[in-house]
Amino acid sequence: MGDQRVSRHQARWVGAGMLAVVVALVLGVSIGAVGIPPGRTLLELLDRLPFVHIDSGLSDRQAAIVWDLRMPRVLVALLVGSMLAVAGASYQGVFRNPLADPYLLGAAAGAGLGATLLIVAGARASGGLLDPVPLAAFVGALGAVAAAYALGAAGQGGRATATLVLAGVAVASFLTAAQTFIQQRNAESIREIYSWILGRLGTATWHEVALLVPYWLVTMAVLVVHGRSLDVLAVGDAEATSLGLATSRVRVIIVVAASLATAAAVAATGLIGFVGIVVPHAIRLGAGSSFRRLLPLCVLFGGAFLVLADLVARTAAAPSEIPIGVVTAFVGAPFFIIVLRTTRVSIR
């Protein structure tokens, strides 16, 4: 019945995604002020695999650049890229709206406000699950989505998609205004907050990697296993219920997990836009729009996309860096317009 053809097709895409991740990793680690031959980078990476011992021929200084400076940065980009892409695709599915992403619904703005409040209060990221900054961001993100949902529901009897989007935009604007206000009132930390708003990966260390990994594992696992539920939700709440799906519960789980992913990403690297829209839509064009196939690919391609965007941010205007949020917007906004104009944006 074509199942095998579909799974072969998917296997090819997963393979391509893994290749993209490896290529992005090697390029991200190799390219920079001190160039390292990509072949040696690959050997150096392989050397760290269990039971593999290869002499990559890197000097101690080069190895230090690879492991202390570039690797954590590349890994943070990889983790944040997957989280933003998968959160975007999940929001799109759960709200059946092609324009949904962590920014709509105010999730990112809420996370930003939560994190800003803590930065202003003088908190510093400490790593681990009890780090206050991602937790504050999570509270902010969930609060924002809940507010958008409640306002959207109050506007109409049902939770019409358009109403929800408008409510989300209003919530996002309000929270951004609140954040700007707090920022202005705390001039001493304005530089730090400002660079954080534009997105920053330059300060990423193993510390941020350790902070992100547990969030990444939990949210990616929860969202990817809900792929089939999202495919069922595509026929609307009423029909999904008639097919036996516990729609309210599934919706809450997906929104919470996507908001947690957004919050962790925002807490680690600030506001990086467009990943949640560009990556899922680009994949849909080639691999089809079933969420069961889409979400695992978003994990891979989202990560690779952000690593490469960070590479551009580091090298395009070297020796100075462009904020990565500017790079993703430069790539993302025109791409998004092209997608909107040339295809029927399909959501399911």
Partner: protein, 280 residues
């Protein structure tokens, strides 16, 4: 107006020969406005029950209440089992709904769409197995959809699309099939095809059909029990010739019609309200 409430059997006790669907005192209110009031309806297994009534009478709400899509009060039983005690999945294994205007995700293939019908049969982490594929293949075959399996549902014609939605409901393997105005968007030939197909499936598989119908004559053709719903209440029930009378239709629809008896059932013909020559 409504029939006296029959005592219902105790919950949890399977009743031999129990009705496939049994509603007792079923009521639905939207924001305090009652759209379905105290409906008693019993449908024997393997029979076809058609529900007619003017727009806004509560026909769709009745189907949605039975499918568990809207909150209702009163009792709903499937083969004697209380619907309230069933988890959503279990309910969806017993009742399948063919909505009036199905939401068709853009680009979804017929095969993928029919596979959605397997949702209540799959545990959370499981993916479709050979059994599910067999059920889906069989549903596609029953509705002559095999040539369309790889086509996108949103590129099909109205009649083909309706068959795809029915195939999804068949893939649910539910004994009770709820059809919400299954032929409203179809021309007369496709109406005939789709309804004949449903009737064939009912006979072959012992399905119980509850269908809301727009066209009174067609409703009378395909039914064992005809129910007339008006303002949220069942006002008439019985055989087509008992329900489809000129006085009933005048009273509940406010329409002037002639009912012509025929071998296959009453034929309802609307009259022109203003006849030529009447004009001043």
């Amino acid at each position: 107006m409504s029939a006296p409430v029959r005592p219902l059997p105790a919950p949890g006790v399977p009743v031999a020969g129990a009705p496939a669907l049994d509603c007792g005192g079923l009521s639905v209110a939207y924001e305090r406005r009652e759209v379905l009031a105290d409906v008693d309806l019993s449908v024997a297994p393997g029979t076809w029950c058609s529900i007619v009534g003017p727009n806004g009478a509560g026909k769709t709400t009745l189907l949605h209440a039975v499918a568990g899509l809207v909150r209702s009060s009163g009792a709903i039983r499937f083969g004697g089992d209380d619907a309230g005690s069933l988890r959503p999945r279990d309910r969806a294994r017993r009742v399948a709904l063919v909505p009036q205007v199905p939401v068709v995700p853009t680009g979804i293939s017929v095969l993928e769409y029919v596979f959605l019908g397997r949702t209540p049969h799959l545990s959370f982490f499981a993916s479709e197995g050979p059994d599910d594929r067999d059920v889906v293949a069989e549903a596609l075959a029953a509705l002559d959809l095999e040539p369309f399996a790889e086509r996108a549902v949103d590129t099909l014609s109205g009649g083909e699309r309706q068959r795809v939605v029915i195939a999804r409901a068949l893939a649910q393997r539910a004994g009770l099939l709820l059809l919400d105005e299954p032929t409203t968007a179809l021309d007369i030939a496709h109406q005939q095809q789709v309804l004949d197909l449903i009737d064939k499936l009912r006979r072959a598989r012992g399905l119980t059909i509850v269908a809301t119908m727009h066209d009174l004559t067609v409703a009378g053709l395909y039914t064992d029990q005809l129910v007339l719903l008006a303002e949220g209440q069942i006002v008439e029930r019985g055989s087509p010739s008992e329900v489809l009378t000129e006085s009933n239709i005048a009273r509940h629809y406010g329409a002037q019609v002639t009912v012509l008896p025929s071998a296959s059932g009453p034929i309802v013909v609307p009259l022109r309200l203003v006849v030529e020559g009447d004009a001043p």
